[in-house]
């Protein structure tokens, strides 16, 4: 009888412990599922930003070039997806080689659906490819209305295959900048400044659109070439703002990381602050609140908060966004009127300048309790007692990425210029790239005043 009691008690204990152990396994599986689902939802949100970029770029340029810019946007994503599958992801997140780049996982070979690591590799790739495509599509705006289509396709492949992944490896993939402690949570530098500086090199090597800068008696007059569809541009900005919640909050790649809440808040506040200050500043400086500048201001806030989003307070986010809104207006006029570099949509200012700015702001506004909650440890910027070291690393990162992107793009665009040619002929530029490059009209049946 005593033996039976002993056996039954032992059996009961085993049963209970098995049940508890099973709960632990289920909890772990659920966590992976939540993380995977969140990451994929975020990836889809960021994918939709492609539509946002397309609408912004079409709206800010002339009707006669609409289909051309849409084709560039479509191909940025399509070519980018394939390039990143074949080569880019492996360079960015593969096994580290000297802190410079990675070299494993080409063609998603590690995406074995039979293992949980393999499935996570696939989910993570899906999230990362939409980021790569974002960086690539920024450039089409800066190079709009005068770039040869074939030249653009070549560039698009190279940036998604090599230029962007190297930067990503340095900061996110286990490379030297990440090891130094650089914080770029969702990619102000990795994604936006890469696109911005690439766009800058493209715009410089292309030259301005015809009729943009007119020399009269030795003095250069700056002419405006108005966008043909401001409503479409506004739609684009709203779509981008919408998708940015996936861009920033999704960068936790973990639905179980509840900092997605604080990230969403900082993202929204920075965008709102940027739109308001850009509108106000353009109101004061140009006499009336300019819709296109206000739209750019919202984007500037979003780009600027992309790096600090997980490590700053909502108040800091408002400040960062507000400064970015003024900065973008100053930058647009600086590039246009002083440097005389033609950037039809302000891509260099929104993504390059504000991307660098946001990255540096991490060094000022990073706050321990937010960074820790997000899983980055107790990191503090200058304003919160962390001293100058973080700011120094951020600055190093911003400058090295600028150097890498500008040099590689200078070489790339120069090579393209010498081989297939970078710019369309003057006659084609006047007639419109829709007809010249694609043989169609975007607005067949409409009468468009094409006196520019």
């Amino acid at each position: 009888m005593r033996k039976l009691k002993l056996i039954s008690i032992t059996l009961f204990m085993l049963l209970v412990s098995t049940a508890v152990f099973a709960d632990e396994i289920n909890a772990a599986q659920n966590a992976v599922a939540i993380d995977t689902v969140w990451t994929l939802i975020a990836a889809v949100l960021v994918f939709f930003m492609q539509a946002g970029f397309a609408m912004v770029e079409v709206g800010f340029t002339r009707a006669k070039n609409a289909s051309n810019i849409l084709m560039k946007n479509l191909m940025d994503f399509s070519i980018g997806s394939l390039a990143y599958w074949a080569v880019g992801f492996a360079i960015m997140f593969g096994k580290d080689v000297g802190g410079f780049w990675g070299a494993s996982g080409f063609f998603l070979i590690d995406g074995d659906p039979g293992t949980s690591e393999g499935l996570w590799e696939l989910a993570f790739w899906m999230f990362q490819v939409v980021f790569a495509a974002t960086a690539a599509t920024i450039v089409s705006g800066a190079m709009a209305e005068r770039t040869k289509f074939i030249a653009y396709l070549v560039y698009s492949c190279v940036i998604s295959a090599v230029i962007y992944p190297v930067v990503g490896h340095w900061i996110w993939g286990g490379g030297w900048l990440g090891k130094l402690g650089m914080i770029d949570f969702a990619g102000s530098t990795v994604v936006h400044s890469v696109g911005g500086w690439a766009g800058l090199m493209g715009a410089i090597l292309l030259g301005p659109r015809m009729g943009k800068y007119i020399k009269v008696n030795g003095k250069t007059n700056v002419k405006a070439i108005p966008g043909h569809n401001i409503p479409m541009a506004a739609l684009g900005v709203f779509i981008l703002w919408f998708g940015w919640f996936g861009f920033n909050a999704g960068s936790t790649t973990a639905g179980t990381n509840l900092s997605i809440a604080s990230i969403a808040v900082t993202t929204n506040l920075a965008a709102a602050a940027g739109a308001i200050t850009a509108m106000s500043y353009s109101w004061i400086r140009f006499g009336k609140p300019d819709p296109s500048m206000s739209l750019n201001g919202g984007l500037a806030g979003l780009v600027a908060i992309t790096a600090p989003c997980a490590v700053v307070s909502p108040t800091s986010a408002v400040i960062v966004g507000a400064i970015a809104g003024v900065l973008v207006v100053l930058s647009v006029t600086f590039f246009d009127k002083i440097l005389k570099i033609d950037d039809p949509v302000g891509a260099v200012s929104v993504h390059g300048v504000c991307g660098a700015f946001g990255t540096l702001m991490v060094g000022f506004f990073a706050e321990g309790r937010f960074a820790d909650a997000a899983g980055l440890g107790f990191v503090n910027g200058l304003f919160f007692g962390g001293g100058w070291s973080l700011l120094g690393i951020q600055l190093l990162g911003v400058v090295s990425v600028f150097a890498w992107v500008s040099v590689t793009c200078l070489i790339l665009f120069s090579l393209i210029k010498l081989t297939v040619g970078l710019r369309v002929s003057p006659e084609e530029e006047l007639r419109g790239l829709d007809i010249g490059e694609h043989g169609i009209e975007s607005y067949s049946g409409f009468q468009i005043f094409s006196n520019q």
Partner: protein
Amino acid sequence: MKLIVAYIQPHKLNDVKQELYKEEVYKISVTNALGCGQQKGYHESYRGVDIEVNLLKKLRLEIAVNEDFTERTVDAIIRGARTGEIGDGKIFITDLSECIRIRSGETGNVAIG
């Protein structure tokens, strides 16, 4: 027969049409146009850069009339379109050598109706 061509401000179209209807002139043709006269444009700016907008939006009216209707039509247009400001527009009167109604083949004063 005369052909009256008038350039007016777009927002005065309704007033002009009302005045023309009072004079029993119902047959007119309206197209959008760009143009300017003495104004030389107004101030517009896009992303901080001034645009010289020297071509403003206008409306072009074309009315074919018989001799006896000419003066009343012109007066009606003026009554409807005049504001006293620069930009009110201009009226041109040219001789019309022939007028044919496509549906019936009628010509001359009968076709103008």
